[in-house]
Structures are given as C-alpha cells and as structure tokens.
C-alpha cells in the first residue's frame, strides 16, 4: 500500500466513523416514542388505561409493576402466566434505561439508582412537569381524576407524541393554551 492509497483508506474510515456518529445522534435526539409493538400489552393493559410507552419507566419499575398485578393500584389486573411473561419481556426490553429518547434520558436522570417508581407520573421529571395539573388551586381544565390518561391533554399521545398539549389553568401567570 503506497502513501496515497493509505491516505484514501484513512479518509474513508474516518468518514464512516463520522457517519455512524451522526446516525446515533439523530436517533438519540428524538422525543417521539415508537408505536406500541406488542399486541398483548396493548390489549391487556390498554383496556383500562393508555398503554404507556415502555420508554417511560426503567426496567426495574416494570419488574415491580408486573410482579404486583394482583393489586394494581387497587384493581386486579391478573394475567395468565404466559401472557404476563410476554408483556414483561417487551416492557423490559424497551424500558427507559435502554431507550434512545430524550424523555427517557430525563426520566432516568431524575431518578436515584435505588428508585423504582410504579407510576410514570411518580418519576420526578414527569411529576415536576405535571405539578399544577391536579392542584385544585389552579382550577385546571380539563381536570382528570388522575394523570393516567395522557390523551386527555396530550392529544397525540397515542402516536407517541407528547409535545402537543391542550390544557388551561385559571391563574393568569400560569395560563397556557395549545402548543407551547
């Protein structure tokens, strides 16, 4: 290999590296969650509440949720063992600690390693963003009983897109409407 071809080879290798980096970064930059890709999860969990993107909670949280379906926030969400295992595997494989998503990064960053919240809205990042929603002092509208149904305010939540929201509070300083 002469000097010239060696130079070309190095340049090619470098461009390949920078291309890989670029692809990884553009994936990491997304705030959109991929569609739910598990029919069992959609059916079994999505009947009572929205089937939340698995990228909202770390694997250790999903382990806890799937291990306590007998008493799922006061309701029985019992499943047969095989279905439960399939749903568990899907949620853990796509959990926040593995996801290349900006919300997932923020959620993981807001949690201590020892914390494994059972609710998406109990993660400090999500809880902080929604502090006013359930506070009667702000007279929120709409006023969901809980934060379980994302699509009440996040009109495109079913598409994995949480950027759009429709929510008002009466206090002038906090008044917001539509896309922010």
């Amino acid at each position: 290999m002469n000097r010239k071809t060696r130079l070309v080879a190095i340049l090619l290798a470098l461009s390949a590296v920078s291309q890989t980096t670029w692809v990884t970064q553009s994936l990491a930059a997304t705030k959109i969650f991929p569609p739910i890709a598990n029919a069992g999860y959609q059916k079994e969990c999505g009947s009572c509440h929205m089937a939340y993107p698995p990228e909202f909670l770390p694997a250790r949280s999903w382990n806890r949720v799937l291990g306590s379906l007998q008493d799922h926030f006061g309701d029985s969400a019992q499943l047969d063992a095989a279905t439960q295992q399939r749903i568990h595997d899907y949620l853990v494989a796509n959990a926040a600690d593995k996801a290349q998503n900006e919300h997932s990064f923020a959620i993981m960053h807001s949690l201590n390693a020892s914390e494994a919240p059972l609710r998406v809205t109990a993660t400090p990042y999500i809880a902080g963003l929604h502090a006013a929603v359930l506070d009667p002092a702000w007279r929120p509208n709409p006023r969901p009983k809980t934060l379980a149904e994302c699509s009440v305010c996040h009109l495109r939540a079913q598409l994995g897109d949480y950027s759009m929201r429709k929510f008002t509070v009466t206090d002038e300083a906090f008044r917001g409407h539509g896309e922010l």
Binding site: S47, C48, H49, M50, F73, G74, D75, S76, A77, Q78, L79, D80, P144, K145, T146, A148, E149, V152
Partner: protein, 138 residues
C-alpha cells in the same frame, strides 16, 4: 352460466349455514354455562344477573360505593368510562358490539378481575352465569 351461478349460490349458502351452525355450537357463553352447571349452579336468570349488576358494595379501603355501572354506565349499548382512569370502555352489549362475549378467555378474565374490584371477592358460578345471560340479552 345461470345454472353454475345458482349452484354456486347454493354451495355458498350451505357453507355459510354450516359456519353459523358451528359458531353456535362453540358459543363461549353456552360453554361457560355448561361448566358453571357442572360446578353445581343452575337455573340461570337474567333477572338475577340484573340485580347483581345493580348491587352496590362499599369498598373498605376507599369508602366508595362500587357497582358495575360505575364503569360500564347504565345503558350497556353505550360506551362506559373507567372509574379511575377515565378511559372509554366500549359498549358491553353484543347487539351493538359483536366482539363482546365472543372469546371465552376474555370473558373469564374480566369476570375475575371485575368481580374482585366491584364486590371485593370472586363471583360464584351462579352469579357469573346470571350476569352473562343478562349481558347476552342486551
């Protein structure tokens, strides 16, 4: 041509008839009623199912009065709303929602879960049969 299509139509209607017949034989509610009868239940009644449906039980933890209509609404032909999350629940009446009562595993799963939430216990085979008859009539 005419004759062929006539014969074709006869064959098709025979096929359809046999499909309907085999469906009727495999009706999951009938299957379940048979199983409940084998467990000692019998004389299932939609009226008894209706009474159980309207029966309210106070949940000891939350203090709230729970009944089936809290989530499913008063008219089974219309959508309900989950009492906690607010998510829409499709109508339970098979007359407007043919998916209902069509899958045995689903029926068993929901009877187990929802009896526990509403009544604080599992339903007896008699109660389950009664309620299924009531829902099927809607």
């Amino acid at each position: 041509m005419r004759r062929t299509s006539f014969l074709g139509r006869v064959a098709l209607s025979l096929l359809l008839a046999s499909a309907v017949a085999s469906n009727a034989a495999a009706d999951p509610v009938d299957d379940l009623l048979k199983d409940f009868a084998a467990q000692g239940a019998g004389n299932f009644s939609a009226q008894a199912g209706e009474r159980l449906w309207d029966h309210a039980v106070t949940d000891p933890k939350s203090g709230e009065a729970r009944r089936c209509s809290l989530c499913h609404g008063d008219d089974l032909r219309r959508s309900g709303k989950h009492a906690t999350t607010g998510k829409a629940i499709e109508p339970l009446a098979p007359s407007v929602n043919p998916k209902r009562l069509s899958n045995r595993a689903d029926i068993e799963k929901w009877l187990l879960r929802n009896c526990k939430w509403t009544l604080g216990r599992e339903c007896t085979p008699q109660e389950k049969g009664d309620v299924l008859l009531m829902i099927r009539a809607r």
